[in-house]
Symmetry: C2
Subunit: 339 residues, 2 copies
């Protein structure tokens, strides 16, 4: 039950630990017979390297930290899953930190990850005191900022073109003839929310429709907030005939509020979501939504980080901007000029 060490193997094979180490790591050429003896010993004793010792020596832990704002948001769950997959492919484990949209928890995680000596971090901000990120920098830990931009130029960044995506979603509703389009936003200190709203405004302007701030309802990207926002909108004098919710979770909340109010979707109200989580096809009606390229986000973030960790990239920080993709399903339809 006691762990087998390189020393045991050396003894078994009758060679030095140096040789065993070189056999294991293939770091120098070894007499084939010696090598075979070592291999046998390795096998016989069931040697497993102690990576703690290896880490101490190399200064690398082969571990990356991932901080997400809300793991119960299926979008982040998906992103986390993909990042884990890609990390695994390159031999990295992922320590997941769920900041729960709480800047204090976020700070705690940042400190934990530093203490744990992760080799790198993928960071999806919950907002708050982003100065914390500087600690990574000061500890020489590379960071890739994903999904939500952060006003500190200390990291590579992988983002969506949220402005364009917001524009296209709104444009879709405008093309269907809607002219009273509400918007349920995320927290306004979060860059994707702000930028999608910018896109929304641009589309309105293009169609000569004045922007009305009273058609903007603030949510927090969770179900409940979408439901509550929709309820407020339903009480609005200018009954909106369409709603652009800045994520699917809130769109689903809005859908329910509308159902509860006896509206039929999309006849009485068109709804567009954002993210294209799996659930968006599972609700009724299936949600028209803006698909995020989750796989690309995860892949780019992981790749950039790995390059930094392995120092194959030491140049300037890079900004990757990806494109979203409107998916038209059954929650939107041409405005009915009824009543």
């Amino acid at each position: 039950m006691d762990r087998v060490t390189i020393k045991d193997v050396a003894q078994e094979a009758g060679v030095s630990i140096t040789t065993v180490s070189h056999v294991i790591n293939e770091t120098r050429s070894i007499n084939p017979e010696t090598k075979a003896r070592v291999m046998d010993a390795l096998d016989k004793l069931g040697y497993q390297p102690n990576i703690i010792a290896r880490s101490l020596r190399s200064g690398k832990t082969k571990t990356i930290g991932l901080i997400v704002p809300d793991i119960a948001n299926l979008f982040f769950a998906d992103v986390a899953r993909k990042i884990e997959d890609y990390g695994y492919q390159y031999g990295y484990s992922v320590i997941l930190g769920n900041s729960d949209n709480d800047p204090v928890k976020q700070t705690n995680y940042i400190n934990t990850l530093i203490t744990k000596q992760v080799d790198g971090v993928i960071f999806i901000s919950a907002g708050g005191v982003i100065e914390d990120l500087r600690s990574f920098y000061e500890n020489g830990i590379p960071v890739v900022v994903a999904d939500r931009d952060v006003p500190l130029e200390l990291a590579d960044v992988v983002l969506l073109d949220n402005e364009k995506a917001g524009y296209e979603a709104t444009r879709h509703l405008l093309d269907l003839g809607h002219d009273c389009i509400a918007c349920i936003t995320g927290p306004n200190y979060v860059s994707p929310s702000m930028q999608r709203v910018e896109g929304y405004k641009r589309a309105l302007t293009e169609f000569g429709i004045p922007f009305r701030s009273d058609l903007i309802e603030g949510g927090d990207f969770q179900f409940k907030s979408g439901e509550l926002a929709m309820q407020r909108l339903l009480a609005h004098p200018c009954k909106p005939t369409a709603v652009f919710a800045l994520n699917d979770m809130m769109a689903i909340g809005a859908l329910n509020a509308a159902h509860d109010a006896g509206l039929s979707i999309p006849t009485d109200l068109s709804i567009v979501g954002f993210d294209n989580i799996e659930l968006s096809t599972a609700v009724t009606p299936a949600l028209t939504t803006v698909a995020q390229p989750i796989d690309e986000i995860a892949q780019n973030a992981t790749n950039l980080l790995i390059k930094r960790m392995q120092c194959t990239r030491t140049e300037e920080n890079i900004r990757v901007i990806l494109s979203a993709n409107l998916i038209i399903r059954n929650s939107t339809s041409r405005m009915v000029v009824s009543k």
Copy 2:
């Protein structure tokens, strides 16, 4: 930018590293003045212990592994979040492994966690070759099995009384007058699914209703499977008036299939789910469901594991069986004796 070590601190304070170590860990009494000097040096240099070195020495990594079958299932996402919280409280980080219901990935993760030398593991099985668990045992890594039972008595176990929960859910439908009650199950090699079905059968028997295997549809605990199962049930000659889906994700899928088929819930069809994920209140109608005590599950699992890791418990393995709690919402109603 170079890490500050205990040696730097010793030099700064003009003492030995032994003394610094003892100050840090409060492991022996130190002359107050010396102590103050060391504290100052610690502070001034911003010393952070290198936990890798500490781990190498102590053989402990203060890390626990958590293996879940599907992180995109909100139930597991919630469990994971809670376990992480509790672990954090005791100074443990959590490495999350998502087996994706894939026995091969599960085996991979098991090996990764062993390699990473986690101090303990909380294991929610995806089924498959559970013999893998033995490797933890052989490496002296304590395991707590949660949610899904495993036919190996090598670990403490935290489970729900699934039979009783299944009974109560079915009983609720029977009390409402339903007598043709379908059941959408999970994979049948997974203990909670089997046991909930047992409870379902017992309730039927108690009401003198013969069990009909053609009213059982197999799913995989994901949305889509609930939807597909419901579609099959709708084509069933004996139109069931009620469905017991063994988790909320499938219940929501079933809800949609029913909506799509033009049924109104609960008038035409009652649906009971299982888990009480947040989403169950966000769909329309809100789901009657069996609430799992997620917090208790997480807390018990974490506590048992911590005791094992700290060797404060060395006795026989323990089995904690928790109770679920039926929550009646709007997706179930008295059977209408119509048509």
